[in-house]
Symmetry: C2
Subunit: 197 residues, 2 copies
DNA sequence: AGTGAAAATCTCTCAGT
DNA sequence: ACTGAGAGATTTTCACT
């Protein structure tokens, strides 16, 4: 993975605040030329750190229906099929997969047809059990990481330098300042996952 | 509230896909001039439908720590204070308030300091009980509403015309095609909320 | 990787409908 | 509310470091 420096994080911060901010504006704040900012943004997109430029919408003004939080209890063999389907479904906003293998998602459904709505987005034959909670407020907090800019070691919290390493564990990318932190993290992660059942 | 028409929803859809898409590009697709698109976007921002132009980031590549889902059990008098604090905290990504008055949030914390991390973002003195689930995948699904464009009545699903009405119930804006649907929705909402305890 | 300058593109303003 | 045209701003390209 390409090394993210502090300038990249500043750029991300500024674009998270306002994704249409001119590059010339950003350039001034991070002390680069506009083309240099443009280059870095291109690379951040290519590397997948920036998934897309998008809108933060007040969906309560937009989409009819009650917002709900649904927890699905299901065999681990079905997780992939179910989450794939959720991602493509109407009204689904967030999808979480827990290490126990549960799936939690948020969505909006018509108030008189919550069960039917769920039935449309998840194949209930694949699911052992589920429960639904109505939500009265749903909010996404778009921020890069506030004041803490540098990449920190997931194990010890130290700043990760170019000596550090990165690894993908349980579907997520983690950064470590040294190999021993990486090893210890993996142990702890496995122990935590086992505890959770 | 100003009426959202199909063109507005198309514009939102296009900007959700790529918030830096030129207005001239959008103009062509919705059959308007670029200044007209710009005007509509301004109004969508003013009315609060567009909260901001932002980035969808792959936070797993960015922020150290384990992603977790936390459920807080707390007195209803404390909900506002706790959620306000969460919104301003480092590492918190989503905040949900259920109609039962529970708070659910997602965040990332250092693997060796999950409890401490939670302690930093919520004042545990205000909380009756809480539980933590480690998450292995966390995904936001940014889409406006896919193929279903028109505003639909939260009660009966019919298209809401200018005869319809809108109301804010439990912190969310709902749209109705007629007053009787609005009344029936309120009843059902209250019954559902009562059931949920 | 970055710069500066020119070319191309996009956004905004404004008078008019 | 929208359009079209022009002014002004922004982004991209490219030769060079």
């Amino acid at each position: 993975m390409r090394e993210l420096d502090e300038t990249d994080l500043q750029i991300l911060e500024l674009l998270t605040e306002d994704a249409r901010r001119p590059f010339s504006d950003i350039a001034e704040q991070v002390d680069l030329s506009p083309p240099a900012v443009s280059d870095r943004v291109d690379k951040l997109r290519e590397s997948g750190v920036i998934r897309r430029f998008t809108l933060d919408l007040d969906r309560s003004q937009l989409r009819a229906g009650v917002p709900v939080l649904v927890r699905l209890d299901l065999p681990s063999t079905e997780v992939a099929a179910v989450t794939d389907n959720l991602r493509e479904s109407e009204g689904v906003e967030h999808v979480f997969v827990t290490v126990e293998g549960d799936v939690v998602f948020s969505a909006r459904f018509r108030s008189d047809a919550v069960r039917e709505g769920i039935d449309e987005v998840v194949d209930l034959k694949r699911v052992t059990d589920y429960d639904v909670t109505i939500v009265s407020e749903m909010e996404w907090v778009p921020s890069v990481g506030g004041t803490e800019f540098a990449l920190t070691c997931a194990e010890c919290g130290n700043t990760v330098t170019s000596e550090g390493e990165s690894d993908r564990i349980g579907g997520n990318q983690y950064h470590f300042c040294c190999p021993s932190c990486a090893a210890r993290f993996r142990e702890q992660y496995e122990r935590f996952s086992a505890d959770a059942e």
